[in-house]
Symmetry: C2
Subunit: 437 residues, 2 copies
């Protein structure tokens, strides 16, 4: 087990890049040998792993999209036999198709180290009492941070899915010093604290790490003002490692990418062409140490910018901006990922066979704490001429399905044809929230 | 890390008992030195750890009840400073008071080994794909078995809380060979399989381990008949280790207690006096290796019998009967622990100040898969003379609270005073289920 420190202990860019080159060579050889998809795609562009002589060569290789992972479900992208895999984690999605990601013992060991680094960056040490207040079942990053905190030697409380009052009671009684949670759960705690005048100063909190969703600086400000504790960001991606690709240091001015395990590129989402440092685009990750599920130039769909300037903390690892938007139309509402295409499918199922696509609009409103979703749906005259009861039943059906399948509570508003205007076809989502998460 | 085998590799009873004596001496010295409660209770009965010269001496020591743990909440029973604790797990309960249990790194290591042993006893090996289909947040044993399966080197799927159709789809696609779950979730899967004519033979299952609840031989038979796979029992207790105190071997005729880590006694629940092997009584556990939260003669509340006869599997570890009942009135309904006292408190809160205790009866019916709970409640004339709406609102309130606080879905039936008879005061629970879990 390597010595634990907040950043990899390498001193210079040269050392980092030499290590990256060696690890990239090993990775490319491994995927060429073991993953049919990569072997074919490398051959198609006339590339053989021995051709790699500098890191720049990576840009000649094709990118990997999520679709490819779905096509090769379940085990087609695995680079080791199943018997060497000790963890299987699935990131299923109604709309985007299921994926299963595997980890060898070394992969889990690396992930644990990366998660530990993220916590160390936030100042967490062996004397801390760390509450992991994330649903262990829903979000694989919970287990990652659990292992990381345990490796540091902190006292870990896997509190998973408690209601806010129980959670706050535990935080007080157990002398919790570090809260690890999602922005949504943190905001719900704050809401409870305000509403019930909880004495936050009786808590012993000294850091908060937010993971699992996108969130804005206004969310950070709001949490910090209410729990008097610095809030740190930690970035991951469920197809790579759900926590620990990058994390904020004590400067909290960008997230240091763990470049001894990942190569980050930012490209133009449309053309796929490389962008200059400082230009915003889609983040692509190449894994350098993953054995079971290595990914070459994987398109994360997350929009960010890279910053190569030296950081006050002394780490030479490149920083990335906090991710607050995506290339696709995925929405985050109340802690849930929501795709307009998913909503469309549910509506189409509820309406039954129809000649044309349903015309609807999603209206998201409220603040981060109490978000509301309204689905305005044009229904044709056949339905409108029907009895009120049938309309109510259609509303109920769509509302129930949205809750059962996506987990979102929505209000359904049926409107007459033409009400939403031609715009509804292109503007599927109207986001009226005070600040996007 | 010791070599992993299904049972501790010791050859004879003599060796086991010598190890137990040494470890018990160390444990008693440790609790005497570090836990005020034990120091006082030992002194009160004139016992000093050096007095222990044989295992029989243990019987002179006072027993430890759950109440004591509640009184010393949160950290009073800890035998190490908090900084040596790497896991905190709480077993909160509305009725019985909260408890927090701590684990050092060695404790987690031992627990992992014990969970691995339970899996090895069921024939699980490094080539297996193990689905952990238990709520990681609700039941700490899920993490225990997760660590155990990972130590064996199996491929672990932390599937936590999927709906049955997703779970079966994953089991098929991922080539799951071992299912680890609760009896309730297993029965829900079976139910789904029957209802949707799922082809179980397309699965690659070869073993099933049930944990987290009590269950009967009829449940075993039913599951085995439907998934064509042997079902194994594994015993734990959330105040000790939630999984891995004892487990069934391939003979499946009693659970071998891991006597290198625990001393088991069976006593008369009323008098606390030792019973002979073969007599049914309350199980008491003394921990031999736990550092953070050692327990001396802890009364588990579980009813069982010890069996010292040699077992066909070759292990010299004593066996205990499958636990199917408890000393208290705790019920298991739909995977949830339910205490009549808890229900009483919720009813009392809903009714508001009243002169006398509420008269009610809990009727549990149905089969293991679709259990139903009905609460029959006598309401006084003041309420009955009220409008229907007030009655409905009272019903709703009780029903909602039962769901929110306990997690049980119940039907509320309000009846006139005298309807339930004087019996309701003593017979709080009527269990009409086909077979008790």
């Amino acid at each position: 087990m390597p010595a634990l420190d907040a950043h990899c202990s390498m001193a210079s860019r040269d050392e980092v890049e030499q290590l990256q080159l060696e690890r990239l060579q090993a990775t490319l050889h491994r995927v060429y040998k073991n993953v049919e998809y990569y072997r074919d795609s490398f051959r198609n562009c006339g590339f053989y792993p021995d051709d790699l002589t500098s890191l720049d060569t990576l840009q000649k290789l094709p990118t990997t999209a999520r679709d490819t992972l779905v096509k090769n479900y379940p085990y087609g992208m695995f680079a080791v036999p199943l018997r060497e895999v000790i963890r299987l984690q699935s990131t299923s999605s109604e709309v985007r198709g299921p994926i299963v990601v595997g980890f060898t013992r070394n992969d889990i060991d690396h992930w644990t180290e990366l998660a530990a680094r993220s916590l160390l960056s936030a100042g967490v040490g062996p004397d801390d009492v760390v509450h992991i207040y994330i649903d262990y079942g829903m979000f694989p990053g919970a287990l990652g941070l659990h292992y990381g905190a345990e490796r540091i030697g902190a006292s870990v409380i896997p509190s998973s899915n408690m209601p806010p009052d129980t959670e706050l009671e535990m935080m007080k009684n157990y002398h919790t010093t570090v809260l690890v949670t999602t922005p949504h759960k943190a905001l719900r705690l704050i809401d409870f604290i305000r509403l019930h005048h909880v004495n936050v100063k009786a808590l012993m909190l000294r850091a908060c790490l937010l993971v699992g969703q996108y969130w804005s600086e206004s969310v950070r400000k709001r949490i910090e003002e209410n729990i008097y504790t610095p809030v740190f960001d930690c970035y991951g991606h469920s197809e790579i490692v759900a926590t620990g690709i990058a994390a904020e240091c004590k400067e909290r001015n960008g997230l240091h990418i763990n470049e001894d395990h990942f190569i980050a590129e930012v490209v133009d989402p449309a053309s796929g062409k490389a962008l200059q440092p400082g230009q915003a685009g889609e983040l692509m990750i190449t894994t350098l140490t993953k054995e079971a599920f290595p990914l070459i130039r994987y398109r994360t769909g997350d929009i960010t910018r890279l910053n190569e300037k030296p950081c006050g903390c002394g780490s030479c690892f490149v920083r990335m901006d906090k991710v607050t938007s995506r290339t696709d139309d995925m929405l985050f509402v109340g802690g849930v990922n929501l795709f307009p295409a998913q909503v469309e499918r549910i509506i189409a199922d509820a309406i039954g066979p129809a000649a044309s696509r349903p015309v609807f609009q999603l209206v998201v409103a409220g603040s981060e704490v109490s978000e509301s979703v309204e689905v305005a749906l044009e229904v044709n005259e056949a339905i409108f001429s029907d009895r009120l009861r049938a309309l109510r039943s259609l509303e109920d059906k769509i509302r129930d399905e949205l809750f059962d399948i996506i987990g979102v509570t929505a209000k359904i508003r049926l409107v007459e044809p033409g009400t939403l205007g031609q715009q509804a076809e292109s503007v599927r989502v109207v986001d009226k929230r005070e600040a996007n998460l």
